[in-house]
Symmetry: C2
Subunit: 163 residues, 2 copies
DNA sequence: TCTCTAAATGCAACTCGTTTGCATCTATTT
DNA sequence: AAATAGATGCAAACGAGTTGCATTTAGAGA
């Protein structure tokens, strides 16, 4: 799963960002590079599956560091009540997230620029940023949802998919 | 501060929503009616200033109830890492929030409808909702900010700004 | 008006994501 | 290879929010 090439690539990226090249950091970076949005917990779980036993505090420290250095970005996932982290890719400012399987579609066009300019003018606010995410069900999960429609009535509410 | 008229109005609103008219609920509703976005903590603090000693669990229960009944709505405030509550006003789906003084400008027009339709078609997602808020400094806070520009450098770091 | 009961409240203990202090270990520099 | 800045693991703490339970109370009914 972890090719030597990938390992080297991660090490190199860390160096380029002036960060020590440690095993934990390489692993976290590698997982993030697979794409998508991961919570600290997701990362811990995946590493545990690989036989590693990372401490949550270490993961948070690494993720905070990546975020501070502009390597990753963090955004709150209201459905899960925790933070998700993803590699920061220029131009990808917004996401469409499947609330079930967490699949992510990157939206590289921001439909708000014109509107925001107008807002700036009408309100005289110095707008520092905005927060925009879409939530929904991806096609696969819609199918799965339909299939389970007749099955056991679920108690946990339809939000489902905590992890 | 709390006019009898206001009290009565709150009681009446509670009744209209099929909710018991208790002192705690009237107080919470009254504060929400003053406008803006309040955290459970904000509400507790204000009530404490008035000599009341509300229990946090009660406040949360009331706010959850208001939210469930469609009287209020809840949204996460990334800067504060907690939930804010506000009265739900039809048509007011988005907000521009001053990160300093918490002043709120309601945005009654959603610039995303057309874009979202397009998104639905291109991704085949069943979009269930979106999350959109703007953050910035209101004119007053910009002035205050400029004034304190030379004053003590702040320790808390302006990193902030989720997006 | 008084009584009854479902529901609201207060309290304390708890959950869980995240953070912090500290001792130990390790990647990088010399 | 030795030195050292800083990375890690561990355990304890933090804070927003939640829950169980005993007590109180709003509102319905007699």
């Amino acid at each position: 799963m972890t090719s030597p090439g990938e390992q080297a690539a991660c090490g190199e990226i860390l160096h380029r960002h002036g960060l020590k090249n440690t095993p934990a950091r390489r692993q976290v970076l590698r997982l993030l590079r697979e794409g998508g949005v991961l919570t600290a917990d997701d990362i811990g779980e995946r590493l545990r599956d690989e036989g590693r036993t990372p401490d949550p505090s270490t993961l948070y420290r690494i993720l905070d560091l990546f975020t501070a250095r502009g390597l990753a970005e963090r955004h709150y996932l209201p459905d899960l009540r925790k933070y998700g982290f993803s590699l920061k890719a220029a131009g990808h400012r917004h996401r469409l997230i499947c609330v079930r399987c967490r699949r992510v579609v990157e939206i590289d066009r921001c439909p708000l620029e014109a509107f925001e300019k107008e807002l700036r003018e009408t309100t005289r606010f110095a707008i520092t940023g905005h927060n925009l995410e879409w939530y929904g069900l991806c096609p696969d999960c819609q199918a799965a949802e339909a299939r389970r429609a007749e099955s056991p009535p679920d108690k946990s509410g339809p939000d489902g998919k905590a992890q």
